[in-house]
């Protein structure tokens, strides 16, 4: 659950009020009182002035008490002590005398902080002492307007920004003012707002839905407080992918990863949506139309298909699974594209979070992430899968700090993305350090729980071979921050210079406000990175040239294919000129490139 920033001030105020309330009660209970004068007895009781509500800084009607002697007769000239117990403000005096009617009073002015004010009247030794009064200061008239959230966002043209622009209405003392109507008007870029006005809530926050104009470029939105105080929000509208087909085509389960090969797409399933994620869906692609579901592989005894991939030769569909007795790695032979026949499986009692295929020395291997406890990089030899055997080539332990989440294998190197443990780089067959799948040799590791790197929640990556520049220096790393699956996410893309494998150094990063990244695909010839961005949909970044610092100006396109509330993209893959996206909520999409 993502906390709505507009809620925070209200929550804090409520907490403050509670503390003040407790302090008031405490003060009332602790007693105290006047110590001067001869000891007399009698009774002190509240008469009037309790439970007033007024604007902060206001002088209240006097608090009044009645003082009587033991016979119940009014006592004149008794000295009543007054004290302010909580809530700020000012009392006119520290004490007052009763009049002939036995009445003493004090004038109080509320403080500038909205909330409770507690005042106490006391006479030592008197029954009923101390007497407590409580009043409430409310915010004054609106005097200020500030931007609270949602400024400087980027999204695709003609789409709503992820974070609704939110303003805070305050009085002259900074207290949030509720019930104020804010006017919203598009100033530039076209587009529209959900309504021309919205009303501030109790905390003083007011928000509005904002859909950007149809033309890429700068969009401006003005929020106006009655009296002409205006603040302006900016947003950048970028090009959009076209939604060419698919979507809303998997309603029985939540969708996980995808792979596309030879005219077919394969998608996994995840978690529980009335049914468990024990299915692999097979789709026939149509460049001109929507993917068509042709088959499903159901694996009993698992709850999630965590990752899947087709081997480079198109002969094998391999997937990993979690949850249940049959979790592990599963190999299906593709006897023809889209036709999968089960050949081998190997259980893993922990479950496997991901599996990446690579051919090393002519043998097909799966590099799998073994779940805790006992996290490990598990390398499986698939060379005998056709005869029903999957064997473990090696198992390399990684400390249990949320474990490995993904692995990228290229040129005989394995880049292991291990959450708080950061990045591990192994030679698994390149030969530079004598490694092999049976004996991975660690080249470097970066990060630890006490020295977090790349955001600290290192999840996935892609080692970029730039065919234009010839460089192989950039490793893109995805950070998977906190999120509520289906609605919110966080985490940035970190660009790491791996020119020296022994000393990877972060050189740039990209943040999409209101969303976090997940899996990547890189179109290397065109120097484009496509990133699944959960509730942010799909993002395309220009990764040409030198990458340094903040890459916010490198975004070239975005789309939330299912629209707001129906988009939570897990993975993307480029195939046949289209970008395919697996969305946990809305299924498989076919997108046109911008």
């Amino acid at each position: 659950m993502g906390i709505d920033a507009s809620v925070r001030p209200r929550v804090r105020l409520a907490g403050r009020r509670l503390v003040l309330g407790l302090a008031t009660i405490a003060g009332l209970a602790c007693g105290g009182g006047d110590t001067g004068g001869p000891r007399e007895t009698g009774t002190i009781a509240p008469l009037s002035g309790d439970a007033q509500t007024a604007t902060v800084g206001t002088t209240l009607q006097p608090y009044r008490v009645l003082v009587t002697d033991p016979q119940g007769q009014p006592r004149a000239d008794a000295k009543v002590s007054w004290s302010l117990k909580s809530g700020g403000g000012v009392l006119a005096a520290g004490s007052s005398q009763t009049d002939a009617s036995g009445i003493a009073e004090i004038t109080s002015t509320l403080g500038t902080l909205a909330g409770a004010q507690a005042v106490q009247a006391s006479i030592q030794g008197y029954s009923g002492s101390p007497v407590g009064f409580a009043s409430t200061g409310t915010a004054g008239p609106p005097a200020g307007l500030t931007k609270l959230n949602g400024d400087n966002q980027t999204t695709s043209r003609a789409q709503a920004v992820l974070i609704p622009p939110t303003v805070l209405v305050t009085d002259a003392y900074g207290n949030g003012v509720g019930g104020v109507t804010i006017g919203w008007a598009v100033q530039a870029g076209g587009g529209s707002v959900g309504a021309p006005t919205s009303v501030s809530g109790p905390s003083g926050a007011a928000a509005i839905a904002w859909t950007l104009g149809a033309t890429p470029g700068t969009n401006l939105l003005a929020a106006t407080l009655p009296g002409d105080t205006t603040v302006t929000f900016a947003a950048l509208g970028v090009a959009a992918f076209s939604v060419d087909g698919g979507g809303n085509n998997v309603s029985d389960r939540y969708t996980s990863d995808l792979w596309v090969a030879d005219g077919y797409a394969y998608t996994g399933t995840w978690g529980f949506r009335g049914a468990f994620g024990n299915a692999v869906k097979i789709w026939q692609l149509d460049p001109g139309g929507a993917p068509v579901l042709t088959d499903s592989i159901i694996t009993p005894g698992i709850s999630t298909v965590s990752d899947l991939e087709v081997s480079p030769d198109g002969q094998w569909l391999v997937f990993t699974s979690e949850g249940g007795a049959n979790r592990g790695i599963h190999a299906y032979e593709l006897t023809s594209p889209g036709v999968a026949v089960s050949r081998a499986a190997l259980g893993n009692t922990n479950g496997l979070h991901t599996g990446t295929l690579a051919v090393i020395g002519g043998t097909l291997y799966a590099f799998a992430a073994q779940d805790p406890p006992g996290c490990a990089l598990k390398i499986y030899d698939l060379s005998a899968a056709a005869s029903g055997t999957i064997s473990v080539a090696s198992s390399t332990t990684i400390p249990d700090n949320y474990c490995i989440h993904d692995t990228f294998v290229r040129d005989g190197y394995a880049f292991v993305f291990a959450w708080d443990e950061g990045l591990y780089i192994y030679d698994v067959g390149n030969g530079s350090h004598g490694g092999s799948p049976a004996n991975p040799v660690e080249i470097s590791k970066t990060g630890s729980p006490s020295n977090l790197k790349f955001g600290g929640e290192t999840h996935n990556g892609w080692w970029f071979h730039n065919p234009v520049s010839g460089e192989q220096k950039y490793l893109f790393i995805g950070e998977e921050g906190p999120g509520a699956v289906g609605s919110s996410s966080s985490g940035d893309i970190h660009v790491v210079d791996v020119s020296d494998f022994a000393h990877p150094v972060e050189v740039a990063s990209f943040r999409l406000a209101g969303a976090g990244t997940h899996n990547f695909w890189v179109d290397e010839p065109n120097q484009r990175l496509y990133a699944a961005y959960y509730n942010g949909g799909v993002v395309a970044l220009d990764i040409s040239g030198v990458l340094a610092g903040n890459l916010s100006n490198r975004i070239v396109a975005q789309v939330r294919p299912g629209g707001s509330g129906n988009t939570y993209v897990w993975g993307v893959m480029l195939y046949g000129g289209s970008l395919y996206a697996s969305d946990m909520i809305s299924g498989l999409w076919q997108l046109g490139l911008p």
Partner: protein
């Protein structure tokens, strides 16, 4: 009806435990015990449908020893839930330690605490300073639900208590004001036989300020930072916790009234997640009659589930949740108590019903409609509660600071 309780064997042990040690008064040893045989029916349960189960729950054996005129105290609580209910107790909305809609079994060594009471004697005037160390509750929040009227644990157990930690507590009482501070390990247990991760001692802290406003009204406010509670190695997010409560215990209407109102809030992942709760409960005891009622509105984070939908994936390997469910529940109960054994043994048949709603807050993919097929919550329990010497015990309070003086350490109605 499912049944997983080796009730016969449990009963044998239980009966033995009820017998007081010879001369316990003279030696300053006080034995306490508790056990509740119950049958609970819940509709709905995860995956839909209804389920009825019988369990022996809260089987506790407790020993409290006093030495040096009450200046040194030891408290041990053996909790056998890991044996009598290893799969948990049906509890709508219940969560924690990998269980969902089941209350998890506690660790066998539920409490093992030693307290030095009023360390400075008269050197600190009227104030009293105590130090407690061992395994037990951190000074945060309200009393453990085991020592409260309702059988069914509240949804907010993990928002309003911090327990089963290796903890060092310093407490001071001056007049009606009581301040406690503690260091402890943040990791919560993962199974009944597990001990705290000793090398994490000190990575978390809590403080509780209590005001004994009147002889019958107690106000408290607590704050805690708990590091990586759900990931034992320590890579999880921190929880920042707040709690405030008012507790009443007094004569009323010819009987005894107990009431508690509490508010708590837990923030995780630097405020990305916020979970809230409000709870109010009351019990009125008059003669053998014990009607009680509890209202709560509490948030539950939804974690990725195993194939057994009552269980969530542990250890964590992500910082995402699947949504937040807000449970608004009413629990009504009635117990009829009979005493024996010089008043130490209490037998209380009871019935208890819970009803309310579960609603998603702020999105997510594991909503009540998906999980249960409905937002409605209903549960009913009938059972027999047996206790020995527990009258007035405040589980989770150490150092004798709630007592008016140290001269009578086992005074009813106070902590240990």
């Amino acid at each position: 009806m499912q049944r997983a309780v080796p009730a016969g064997l449990a009963a044998v042990l239980w009966t033995g435990a009820l017998a007081p040690l010879a001369g316990q008064s003279a030696t300053g040893v006080h034995l306490m015990g508790l056990g509740i045989a119950s049958v609970t029916r819940v509709d709905p349960v995860p995956g839909g449908g209804r389920l009825t189960e019988g369990r022996l729950v809260q089987p506790l054996l407790m020993a409290h020893a006093t030495l040096l005129g009450g200046r040194l105290r030891a408290l041990g609580t053996l909790d056998l839930e890991g044996w009598t209910m290893p799969g948990g107790e049906l509890t709508p909305g219940g969560w924690g330690e990998g269980f969902n809609d089941r209350r998890h079994p506690h660790t066998y060594a539920h409490e093992l605490m030693v307290s030095a009471v009023d360390i400075l004697g008269r050197h600190d005037g009227a104030a009293r300073l105590s130090v407690s160390v061992g395994k037990g509750f951190a000074p945060f929040g309200s009393d453990d639900p085991m020592s409260r009227p309702t059988l069914r644990y509240p949804v907010n157990h993990h928002l309003a208590q911090v327990l089963e930690r290796a903890v060092a507590i310093a407490g001071v009482r001056a007049g009606p004001v009581l301040l406690e501070g503690a260091l402890f390990n943040g990791d919560e247990p993962e199974r009944p036989g597990q001990w705290p991760k000793w090398d994490r001692f000190g990575d978390s802290w809590s403080a509780r300020l209590t005001l004994l406003a009147t002889p019958w009204l107690e106000l408290s406010a607590s704050r805690a930072k708990v590091h990586s509670p759900e990931h034992r190695p320590g890579a999880g997010t921190d929880a920042w916790k707040w709690h405030a409560a008012a507790r009443v215990s007094r004569e009323a209407g010819g009987g005894r009234l107990y009431a508690l109102a509490e508010w708590a809030r837990t923030e995780e992942a630097d405020g990305f997640f916020v979970f809230r709760t409000v709870l109010a409960e009351a019990e009125w005891r008059r003669g053998p009659h014990r009607p009680y009622y509890r209202f709560e509105r509490s948030d539950r984070p939804e974690d990725l589930r195993e194939l057994d939908l009552f269980r969530s994936v542990r250890p964590h390997l992500e910082n995402a949740i699947l949504g937040t469910t807000r449970f608004t529940l009413h629990t009504l109960g009635y117990g009829f108590e009979r005493r024996a054994g010089l008043g130490q043994l209490a037998l209380q048949p009871f019935v208890e019903a819970t009803f309310g709603r579960a609603q998603p807050t702020m999105g997510g993919v594991l909503t009540p409609e998906i999980l249960y097929g409905t937002s409605r919550v209903r549960a009913v329990t009938a059972g027999l509660r047996l206790s020995w010497g527990l009258e007035g015990h405040r589980m989770g309070r150490y150092g004798g600071l709630l007592e008016p003086s140290t001269s009578h350490p086992m005074e009813a109605g106070h902590g240990h």
